[in-house]
Amino acid sequence: MAPDTAAPTESPLIAAVDVSRTFTVRGAAGRRRLRAVDGVSLAVGRAETVAVVGESGSGKSTLGRMFLDLLAPTSGRVEFEGTDLRAMSRSAWRRYRREVQVVFQDTGSSLNPRRSIGSSVMLPLQYNLGLRPSEARRRAAELLDMVGLRAETFLDRSPLQLSGGQRQRVAIARAMASDPKFIVADEAVSALDVSVRSQVLRVMRDLQVERGVSFLFITHDLGVVRAVADRVVVMYLGEIVESGTADAVLDTPAHPYTKALLAAAPRPDPTVRDEQRSRLTGEIPSPVDPPPGCRFHTRCPLAQDICRTTVPPVERFDDGTESACHFARHVRSGELTMPLADDAGEATIEEKA
């Protein structure tokens, strides 16, 4: 999670190549197709941490599930170490299954309540790594200690006896048990207290430093993004609207949506309260009926006529940042500023004299 690692030049560990995923939904208007992810390409390098941010309904979790092969793309493909998941040999696919792991937000439902914590963590050690039960138990104890759960206390407990934060750490220990190369963390630390969250993030970072594990962090917490991500991808209604190094995107965002997310994030500083910052109005529209032109235009305080009609091209910056906004350069340079929450006035581009 070094701050200066840019996009990998060698072949990526895992990559989504132009993936889309549609769902059929039944509503008052009959069966309709919902495009949850729409033509997204995203590669994650070795020992790299990529964060995917966006509101509920942005498609970030659907994208994560395609990386995990929990959902098949409707079009496009996911490649692990250069091989399409669909074209893998049985043994390659089993290796993929072992080396790609996930930690979900809701661990209440992902741990078997009839198994002890120890046995949940031992299972992948025995099945995936072929350890004998005694070795597996010892390693499970190490893993639990690593995530800050005293093994002697927790090995024989049931998930039902644990708090949410404790179950979350068990899920992380279990994901790490298979000696993975890639972990998808889907809001994995959002529900944790600050101290536990930092402990867990540190465990993940150490794993990256020591074993070169890569992470896809799906999160809405921009503080976590800043702390751990090398690169960040911002999604809105199934599309990537901005991507770049975490520091570039968070310091000089080039898309109004990124700016709005940053403005909404609470800051631990009572002297800069959010009443002085811009706020998005309304909620994310339904992906069944995405707005024409730029999908963000219905909520964008900077939207102009062109945004309502024309899909914005991707603007590329020298530092690798990409932004799908007609006014990306103006947004990034600060020539185009976001109106404050109570400003009714329309935004305008100030021409440089």
Binding site: D193, V196, R202, A227, A265
Partner: protein, 340 residues
């Protein structure tokens, strides 16, 4: 000005197999009219238990108030009230909202009926539709007339939380207890709900007791904050003071571990260890087992809350210059040994 809510030396006890256990142990807390007061700390510090004690809505019957008093202005001692008397206070004087709005909405009841239920149960007669629609509109919900006939599943998480705020405020209470009300929401929605709550304070003079573990939310919302640790108040401060110059090592540690999108932290700081089990509390200062500057006195004697600028802190070393650098001189504890 008289406080609206005055909690004094509150003790909340759970019956245990080996005798009673104090989950909240001598908490004194005030909420003044029109004030937003934060209650922060890690899970298991007793902040939700303290809030539950106000309306005696404990998760099980094994938990009860075992000492101290809870006084609501013009209502008297809530801790001494019967269930029936408390019901009259609930809703009319004190509203409540929680983390997961869907848990508190009946999926089979329309939004209009759920919000009106409080009015009906308090004997407000007549047709409530107009009043409820007006209330939903005040919560920033579009098409309130339409909304009356809709069901919870047709709403987004943010809309549901607005409906619950409307229901909590239907009888115009003067105190709102908000227990992690935005933790489950998107940041954009969170920011709108926080703005709504601040706005309601301005418009209605509402007081809010805001329970959260997020110091970012505290900074956005609160006038004052109580930091709880292991069932006690570790620090009570005005909002600017707690961020500028925290005076308890626990607060300093929590703030240091708070992640901000504005800057990459030098290291991922975490207070080592965990909140002690209420069944086996350390002697002396309860934080001494995790404190980097604990001395013998901290292990022997419980520190009282002593006055500091803008509030009070319960630490024997709160005036010690070493306090400010308590955590910075600490090597980051590592769970994984270096194999050295």
């Amino acid at each position: 000005m008289d406080p609206l809510l005055q909690i004094t030396d509150l003790v909340v006890q759970a019956a245990g197999r080996r005798g009673p256990v104090n989950l909240v142990d001598g908490v004194t807390l005030q909420v003044r009219p029109g004030e937003i007061v934060g209650l922060v700390g890690e899970s298991g510090c007793g902040k939700s238990m303290t809030a539950s004690a106000i309306m005696q809505l404990f998760p099980t019957t094994a938990v009860s108030i075992a000492g101290g008093s809870i006084h609501l202005r013009d209502a008297g001692r809530l801790d001494a009230m019967s269930a029936r008397e408390l019901r009259a206070v609930r809703g009319a004087r004190i509203g409540m909202i929680f983390q997961d709005p869907s848990t508190y909405l009946d999926p089979l009841m329309t939004i209009g009926r759920q919000v009106a239920e409080g009015l009906r149960s308090h004997g407000v007669a007549g047709d409530h539709r107009a009043a409820v629609a007006r209330l939903l509109g005040q919560m920033g919900l579009p098409d309130p007339e339409q909304l009356l006939r809709r069901y919870p599943h047709e709403l987004s998480g943010g809309q549901r939380q607005r409906v619950l705020i409307a229901a909590a405020l239907a009888l115009e209470p003067d105190l709102l207890i908000a227990d992690e009300p935005t933790t489950a929401l998107d940041v954009t929605v969170q920011s709108e709900i926080l703005a709504l709550l601040r706005d309601l304070r301005e418009r209605m003079g509402l007081s809010i007791l805001f329970i959260t573990h997020d110091f970012g939310v505290v900074a956005e919302m609160c006038d004052r904050v109580y930091v709880m640790y292991a069932g006690r108040v570790a620090e009570r401060r005005d909002i600017v003071d707690v961020f500028a110059n925290p005076r308890h090592p626990y607060t300093i540690g929590l703030l240091r571990g708070t992640l901000s999108p504005s800057a990459r932290p030098d290291e991922l700081f975490a207070i080592p260890g965990a909140v002690p089990d209420p069944r086996s509390m350390p002697s002396g200062c309860r934080f001494n087992t995790r404190c980097p500057i604990a001395v013998d006195r901290c292990r022997a004697e419980q520190p009282p809350l002593v006055e500091v600028p803008g509030g009070a802190a319960a630490c024997w070393r709160t005036d010690d210059p070493e306090l400010a650098t308590a955590w910075t001189d600490q090597p980051v504890p590592r769970e994984v040994s270096d194999g050295a």
